[in-house]
Symmetry: C2
Subunit: 237 residues, 2 copies
């Protein structure tokens, strides 16, 4: 085997390792998406069994975080990647932290679903949470898609979507405060709705973080803590 074919071989193996890490992130993201969907369905349908499944499955999300983290550090140690490859590993390490936190929030909603299943149901069957949950899940889906395709424009669109999610969250909070003031017997149930809305809003923030890492990965620019306009500019440049 001559030197060229060896280095080609090593490089192909290296590429496969990077590809494997990327695929695992997408698999973890898919699992987290499912957790969000099931948590919301459990809450809306008062499905305690499904809520319990969400809670017990969170360990799978955690296990994936630990496994991908370890694999990433091994790639750093063995391959000493530079430039784009290094940024990919850094983006992966950060992305899985946010995915794990989204998973925690889904578990939290699962717990709220169990509380709420025991209480009187409102007429709208928590449609406001269902709507917010659908939007947030779509944000995460689009962020993972943008990560898979290294699409910075799609990443910016995720951050833009978060403005709507925040506005919807604020509207839910204001409405819940009114409910509480109207009838103190609503307090416990309304608090659970508030915590669930808050969990969804936080998920949106984590999806935004992921979209920021995509711009870092593709453009090498750190757009955290900057304005949406700045992010848009960096994504296009």
């Amino acid at each position: 085997m001559n030197k060229t074919s060896l280095s080609h071989h090593i490089s192909r193996q290296f590429n496969e390792e990077l590809e494997d890490v990327r695929n695992k992130v997408l698999a973890m993201g898919g699992l987290v998406e499912e957790q969000i969907e099931n948590a919301i369905t459990a809450l809306v349908n008062a499905d305690v069994e499904l809520a319990e499944r969400v809670i017990s499955r969170d360990y799978q999300v955690n296990a994936l975080e630990v496994a991908i983290d370890e694999e990433s550090v091994q790639v750093l140690a063995r391959r000493q990647p530079a430039a784009g490859d290094l940024r990919l590993i850094i983006a992966v390490i950060k992305t899985i932290t946010d995915l794990e936190r989204i998973g925690d929030q889904a578990e939290r909603i699962g717990r709220m679903a169990i509380h709420l299943a025991e209480m009187e149901r409102p007429k709208n069957q928590y449609s406001e949470l269902e709507h917010l949950g659908t939007q947030v899940r779509k944000m995460l889906h689009n962020a993972l898609d943008a990560f898979a395709r290294m699409d910075t424009e799609a990443a910016v669109a995720v951050a833009q979507e978060d403005i709507k999610v925040d506005a919807e969250y604020e509207a839910i909070m204001r409405q819940m405060i009114t409910f509480m003031m109207e009838d103190p017997r609503n307090v416990k149930r309304t608090l659970d709705v508030m915590w669930s809305a808050r969990a969804l809003e936080r998920m949106g923030d984590h999806a935004c973080n992921i979209s920021e890492y995509i711009i870092y990965l593709v453009k090498g620019k750190d757009v955290r803590h900057t304005s949406l306009e700045h992010m848009e500019k960096q994504a296009r440049d």
Copy 2:
């Protein structure tokens, strides 16, 4: 210059770079500690000016996160560290994310302090939040100290402390629910207290995360998502 002195020189410079990154993490931690302290003081003393200072200083925390992150990635690219050095850089990248989130929570408390300053004060002047805040700040202080001294036993003690913080948080929440049910006019003020307590509880979780990274850094073991007993065992082994 012979090869040995060159490699010694390079290694000394490398050591200095690692030392610099470590020191910057500790400086960032010190700033975040101050932000917690000021946010709580502002809330307890209805000091709107101090609260605004906390809010406007959050950009310093963010800027440190971005700077340390960049420096860490540069060390990875230039030095291709292995073993303990690599774990240090990974632990740093993770630690500053948690420090930044603690900073966000301090900013959040600053905002609550401004709301609460406009409302009627309770007799106890929010002493429950002051007490919880002091505990959480101590947790962070001890976590940073453990990081500086690479002290895994001290890191475990931080995680142990979080049990008390969680219990205190739960007690505050229960009391606040009672207040709300007793008098709906309390709703808005009580919600702000709840959000502040929640922010403090989250800070405690972030301090715990940092203590987990210390065990990873020193022992090479990932103790996230495991029991406190397991963490204790790994810290001692």
